[in-house]
């Protein structure tokens, strides 16, 4: 564990610089590229708002903002999971040249995605103002929710990184799995009102992404208190998964290059 913090400190500057350069090159490589960071979630929000708000009549209060928060968090999770599987391979040129702890690659990717997520949250704030969502102190709960969210994502990503190196078709399998989770997370509907009673509880508490997403909406939109008990529990689980993931990576990372 102490090795983890030592390495984290040692590679901190590298991670930050690398994430910055990545963002910069993404902006530079194509015209109006950064606009897509905004346009992409907005367009999907409009689609889902129409289909589920109008066609299926599943509307909620502040429905577009409701969906936008869901999509923002889902995009972060989804992109991070999918890229973790291939992350060692796609950084082959670096990994086969010099030693670096492989989870640094995840942290770098998280930095890039977190920046995009930050932009999305700015839009959320703008939308909240437009929809005149009443602001309460509960908004501050967003910070611990995000921290737990990052820990959980990091934990899952480390595990996927490890198996992604050895299992060739993990990407396809994960894609299907993620699609399943996507529909069960309640991005465009309210889990607790749309699904019959015992199942909605399972779905919204046992799936960390769904739980955190629901909590985020409660905190930002509806001024409700979040469940600290579950948040603490998922924080512990996230730390545990991360610890297992980091341990596995340290133990096996030197053979990753041999497999590539």
């Amino acid at each position: 564990m102490s090795r983890f913090f030592h390495d984290l400190h040692k590679y901190k500057n590298y991670t930050i610089y690398s994430a910055k350069s990545d963002l910069k090159s993404e902006v530079a490589s194509s015209y109006l590229n950064w606009l897509w960071w905004i346009l992409d979630p907005i367009c999907f929000m409009l689609i889902y708002t129409f289909i589920f708000g109008v066609v299926f009549d599943a509307s909620e209060q502040y429905f577009p903002v409701f969906i936008f928060i869901g999509l923002t968090m889902w995009n972060f999770f989804n992109r991070l999971m999918l890229s973790s599987i291939k992350i060692v391979k796609s950084n082959k040129s670096i990994v086969s040249k010099v030693y670096l702890p492989k989870y640094i690659l995840i942290l770098e990717k998280m930095g890039v995605e977190a920046f995009k997520m930050g932009i999305s949250f700015l839009i959320v704030i703008a939308m909240m103002i437009v929809y005149r969502v009443p602001v309460t102190w509960n908004i501050l709960c967003a910070i611990p929710i995000l921290i737990v969210f990052f820990i959980i994502c990091f934990g899952f990503a480390t595990i996927l990184l490890h198996f992604g190196v050895f299992v060739q078709d993990l990407f396809n399998v994960t894609q299907i799995g993620l699609r399943l989770v996507f529909y069960m997370t309640g991005i465009f509907y309210n889990l607790s009102t749309r699904i019959p009673s015992p199942y909605s509880d399972y779905l919204s508490h046992l799936n960390p992404v769904a739980f955190l997403m629901t909590s985020m909406r409660k905190a930002l939109l509806y001024g409700e208190m979040i469940s600290w008990k579950w948040l603490g529990l998922w924080c512990l689980v996230g730390l545990l998964i991360s610890a297992v993931g980091i341990h596995t990576i340290y133990k096996n990372e030197n053979s990753y290059v041999k497999v590539l």
Partner: protein
Amino acid sequence: MREYAIEVKDLCVNYRNLQKYSIKQNFFSFKRRKTEQFEAVKNVSFSVEKGEILGIVGRNGSGKSTLLKTLAGIFSPDSGTIDMKGHSVSLLSIGVGFQTELTGRENIMLSGMLLGFSQEFIKEKMEEIIEFSELGKFIDMPVKSYSSGMHSKLAFSITAILETDIMMIDEVLSVGDTKFKKKSYAKMKSLINDQDRTVLIVSHSSDTLRQLCTSILWLHDGVIKMQGDTKEVLAAYEEFMK
């Protein structure tokens, strides 16, 4: 008492059990696949003194690059020990590790940081590296637009200017055009005169090694065939390769 920079004892590196595996295959074939074991480096022990320039020769596939990568910490040894005495190490080889979407300048920064240098130090050295690499205005273009010669020039410049205690060079002494070749030779010479720097060179060019190295290690099928004085080993090696 001689001071050693690298001490390697009974080093073995295997490639085994590490083939990729796919879930689909597991569904459709019930027989276990045989795992092949390939020993790339077998029981190699040697030590390099501080300030020494060690050449490594051997046929293709005799384990030279694997040895260097293991020393650089990219592979883990399956058995045996490597003691680098806490020196900083850099490995330079063909197909160098750049992020091709980023510019040359950013890649210098990133490579430098991965080698363990501080941002300020690299900034100081930046101009020197750019000048040495002769890239001119290309330095602010994405690396993917570089020719292979420019690629290698940049890589060589980074390693040559940001000097680590131990440098490992894998077949890249002959990069670039004639002018750059001369320059890199001169740079290598000056590094050799530096008493604190230890250099390991893998090359197929006997002439290069004869000029630069203080001793030679000859690997054959993963084991040390001969080790010692440059002239003797190279003579034996050339005889063997005829």
